[in-house]
Amino acid sequence: MKKVLKKVGIALIVILVGIQFVPANINKKENIKKTDFRFVYNTSKKVIDVFETSCYDCHSNNTNYPWYSNLQPMRYLMDKHVLEGKEELNFSEFGKYSDRMKRNKLRSIKGQVEDDEMPLSSYLLLHPKAKLTEEVKALIINFLDSLN
């Protein structure tokens, strides 16, 4: 029994070491493009800071990678989140959306923030600073309402 456990343990370690070689995506472009959300609307620093802290990791071309992002399988999962997140909403490319899509995205952002659907709770576990307090939520919602 003990032997089996040992074998399983070794196998696990081999796998874990092995997957460290899985290539990782890098979602990082230092320059902020003209299509960035902050240039599309008249955005206060306060508002854009909130978006950057709480949303940009998965919804922009600039992810702020934490230390454990260098380890697999965390990086793999993170890459997947970033890919899916950007497909849904990309603050860096916001200016490229059609007016109709911009309106949809703004509506969705508001809905997600109001209902505490975003940021994801799993993300908040590792990024407590990203949590939106009621005060910050009100700031964001007011800002979004002002755009209509």
Binding site: G9, P73, M74, E114, L120, S122
Partner: protein, 208 residues
């Protein structure tokens, strides 16, 4: 050393579980309980009927520039499911809607109309995809119905249809922001409020 290894393994696995926890499963394939049109409650004629009657939405009442009937059928079926609070039925209907949207053929559109149609399509498909993926979250489905209904309304305005349709409005929908939907029946069947208030709303425009 052994202990350290074990800790490492636990940390890895714990971390992966944590990150994996936010996937959303969207499988659900209940059959759609089809609503029977016959079950009409008498639709009380709202007193504001006279005020904004027959404002034409369709700008080109003449020749239709494409056949919207499949899209509209799927959209109506989606709404029927939402009226009945059936999120998985709505998800299924939106899947049909996605394919009928993608199948639309148009002709004789001006460049501007073509551009707008493309934008409507992009938006409508995205909204329908969200409805499709949220078979367990009817609130989210209804949020996307708000934009989807605007897409459908604008699409009708460009492409045209010979069907007699109604643009309904409910002031309480979308967290009291108010929202429209398009219907092929005169009776109000509110997809936003569902069984809570199925008759909330009024006809604000007729098409054809």
């Amino acid at each position: 050393m052994k202990k350290y290894r074990l800790k490492l393994v636990v940390a890895f696995l714990g971390g992966s579980l944590l990150l994996a926890s936010c996937g959303n499963d969207s499988e659900s394939n209940n059959d759609i309980p089809q609503d029977d049109e016959g079950m009409e409650h008498d639709h009380n004629n709202h007193d504001h009927g006279g005020m904004n009657e027959n404002r034409e939405v369709s700008v080109n009442a003449g020749e239709a520039k494409g056949d919207l009937s499949l899209i509209l059928d799927d959209y109506f079926s989606l709404n029927k499911n939402l009226v009945q609070d059936d999120a998985s039925g709505a998800a299924k209907a939106s899947e049909d809607l996605i394919s009928s949207l993608k199948d639309l053929k148009t002709s004789g559109l001006s460049n501007d109309q073509q551009k707008e149609t493309d934008e409507i399509m992009e938006s409508a498909v995205e909204n329908a995809e969200h409805i499709n993926r949220n078979a367990e979250n009817i609130k989210h489905q209804r949020e996307h119905l708000v934009s989807l209904s605007i897409d459908i309304k604008d699409l009708i305005a460009i492409v045209g249809t010979s069907q007699k349709l109604y643009e309904d409005f409910c002031p309480m929908a979308d967290n009291n922001n108010g929202a429209i939907w398009i219907s092929d029946i005169e009776a109000i069947r509110n997809p936003y409020m569902g069984s809570k208030m199925p008759e909330c709303g009024k006809i604000q425009n007729t098409i054809n």
